[in-house]
């Protein structure tokens, strides 16, 4: 539909690397995510409470960071090379604060057979990096990618 060439499992290579554009995370992003998710934890919504906290200010929901990096990576990965998510293993290593600019570094780490013969599983390692070069989130995602039709 988008006119993009279809990318099949066979086209994805272990070692393929992707670098996303950056994105500045704003207060509005956090407010919208709180409304969408219903997660109004004080960590994300109470500026006064957070002044006295470990972080000193409100921080983005961890899952907001995960969601933003997914969108950022979608912008640079061709076709369905990184298709629907099958699983995620993820670590939140540091806070994303209002005004921080994050981008994603991703690498295809492995390919293996899937449960169905028509598709394989691609494992992607991802690091979410802020404007100071600090890794704030990292992990790996498995994706089901269709094989080239015979």
């Amino acid at each position: 539909m988008s006119g993009e060439p279809t990318v099949y499992f066979e086209d994805v290579k272990v070692g393929d690397e992707y670098t996303s554009p950056g994105r500045t995370v704003t207060e509005a992003d956090i407010v919208i995510f709180a409304g969408l998710s219903g997660d109004y934890n004080v960590l994300h919504t109470d500026a006064e409470h957070m002044k006295a906290s470990l972080f000193g200010e409100r921080i983005a929901h961890g899952l907001l960071g995960l969601s933003i990096q997914q969108g950022l990576l979608d912008r640079v990965v061709p076709g369905q090379a990184v298709g629907p998510l099958a699983s995620v293993k993820w670590k939140f290593k540091g806070p994303i604060k209002i005004g921080d600019t994050i981008h994603v570094l991703a690498r295809v780490a492995a390919k293996k057979d899937g449960e169905q013969p028509a598709a394989g599983v691609v494992t992607v390692e991802r690091r979410v990096v802020n404007q100071r070069g600090e890794v704030v989130q990292e992990g790996e995602t498995d994706h089901v990618v269709a094989r080239r039709p015979a």
Partner: protein, 140 residues
């Protein structure tokens, strides 16, 4: 008399192991997809299909609708998650969770929560384990 401004809270010491907690449900709509799409600029979903990260994100908020004081989470440390079945517009999801491990640390304690998201047909659509750093009860 307790200060009404101070909401009651669940600290590390209060967390009980293996007690299942079921949340109320939420019906997934096109509006959720549109809001999520505008927030993340992700790949457009096929019509009627809910982007797979939405149920995961909403499961944290569902926990806030259970009539019990909130857990004092200091930080979300990580999680492992499996996406088992797609969700569609009109599906109603709820979350069932329990604590499966607790480990006391110098500052706070680590709590491991096992969580499943079920739909209106009681199918498990997503499930996994989340690791949280939780505050200890401040000295009285």
């Amino acid at each position: 008399m307790p200060d009404p401004r101070v909401e009651r809270r669940v600290y590390f010491e209060d967390v009980q192991m293996n007690v299942p907690l079921e949340t109320p449900g939420v019906t997934l709509t096109d509006t959720h997809t549109a809001l999520f799409g505008s927030l993340t600029l992700g790949r457009p979903a096929d019509p009627g299909v809910i982007p797979e990260l939405i149920p995961l994100c909403m499961s944290s908020g569902l926990g806030w609708r259970v009539p019990q004081p909130p857990l004092v989470v200091l930080a979300f440390m990580g999680f492992e998650w499996r996406f088992l079945k797609p969700s569609r517009v009109g599906d109603t999801i709820r979350s069932v969770s329990k604590t499966v491990a607790k480990r006391s640390m110098k500052e706070g304690g680590v709590v491991v929560e096992e969580r499943s998201i079920l739909n209106q047909r009681d199918e498990i659509v997503q499930s996994g384990r989340l690791t949280l750093l939780v505050a200890k009860r401040p000295p009285a």
